[in-house]
Symmetry: C2
Subunit: 200 residues, 2 copies
DNA sequence: TGTACATCAGTGAACGCGCGTTCACTGATGTAC
DNA sequence: TGTACATCAGTGAACGCGCGTTCACTGATGTAC
């Protein structure tokens, strides 16, 4: 049964969205093509009508994740007032380093979720990661810009802040449920330091 | 053919060592039991004489990685002079954030290599990760201690420095070969900042 | 606008493959006397 | 110390299973006239 073009496009988007979520939860290797298709309400046989390979879907799902993660930062950078930007950035960090309720689906940062796996991924996916990282750093710099700072200082600050955020989140998620106190301590320390340095 | 106790122990150690290296290179899911055993010079059938499951080997290989990663930090903490400790710590960061020669086997930090995968690992492996993290932070604090700083300030500094290192390395390795300049920029920025803050 | 036909996204069975794990068997090592 | 036997790490074939991918087929959609 042939499907309308609009329906086809919507189906593909549903596959990519389901993949992004499932890859976040269980990693690229932890979810099979059949399960992905069923999560999108389809059967697995049609997969290759939309994608050349599972790898291609991995790349597209990554791109979706990075795109979505970028939105809140764009909003901060668009603020005119430096004071507002800093307050919004503090809120961003607060949110980024706050533990989710137990059981709640954690909307984790794609850099944290996919970071370790990147060196082993295909070229397409790594390209998406690189593009996402460059975009992220630009938005970070946009949010952190200050009249008193040169552009290269702002960029260095963006890189450093992002490294600290990603590292803290990676370590904290690694020991969540095993050592909740340590996870919380890591989040608290890094949050306080970053807000002190960049949003005060 | 029964094997001597000493030989048996050595065989198991060889399996764990081979696993640690291969897991570093290709991740837990990227290496099969048969390949691991052959890398240790054995056949796959004997695997379950040494381990209850592949998961158990993953945990033991992780423990080995963390143990080895700890040694250089222990040496720094053992130094008496604060000036020497700071110089050694600067060297540690320098080494940690320096790109390997192309083709050279990269002795990457286990937190970077396994970090993203931890939330999806079994309890045993996550426990090893947590233990490794606590040990690492103590050594970091030992290396960073200063007479002018309270213990809790030193610990906070250790946590923050480690988060920045792990994050920078995760991001840089993610874009190595895709965007070498960006990888280098991340390493340079974070190295300079950390040395300025902690080792000057 | 209506008709005839080609297109192609969907389905579900089937493919080969490699995975983690189990098993019967071997024979040198370790142990009991 | 020497002998007889139980132990158990090793081997390699075999297990079932789920994976990514392919395929023949269906039938509504899109297109050509």
């Amino acid at each position: 049964m042939r499907i309308s073009k609009a329906q086809t496009k919507e189906n593909k988007e549903r596959i990519v969205a389901a993949a992004a979520q499932l890859f976040h939860e269980r990693g690229f290797e932890g979810v099979g093509v059949a399960e992905l298709m069923h999560a999108a309400g389809l059967t697995h046989g049609g997969f290759y009508n939309h994608f050349e390979s599972k790898q291609q879907l991995e790349a597209e799902a990554c791109a979706l994740s990075f795109g979505e993660a970028l939105h809140p930062l764009s909003r901060i950078g668009a603020l005119e007032s430096g004071r507002e930007r800093r307050a919004a950035f503090a809120g961003y960090i607060e949110n980024y380093l706050t533990q989710r309720e137990a059981g709640a689906p954690p909307p984790r940062c794609p850099f944290v979720v996919f970071g370790s796996d990147m060196p082993r991924q295909g070229e397409g996916t790594r390209g998406v990661f690189g593009k996402g990282l460059r975009a992220y750093l630009e938005k970070f710099a946009g949010a952190l810009r200050r009249k008193s700072k040169r552009a290269d200082e702002t960029r260095a600050g963006a890189i450093f802040a992002m490294a600290a955020l990603v590292g803290a989140s990676t370590l904290a998620y690694g020991v969540d449920e095993i050592d909740t106190d340590l996870a919380q301590e890591i989040r608290d320390v890094v949050r306080a330091r970053l807000i002190e340095e960049f949003a005060d």
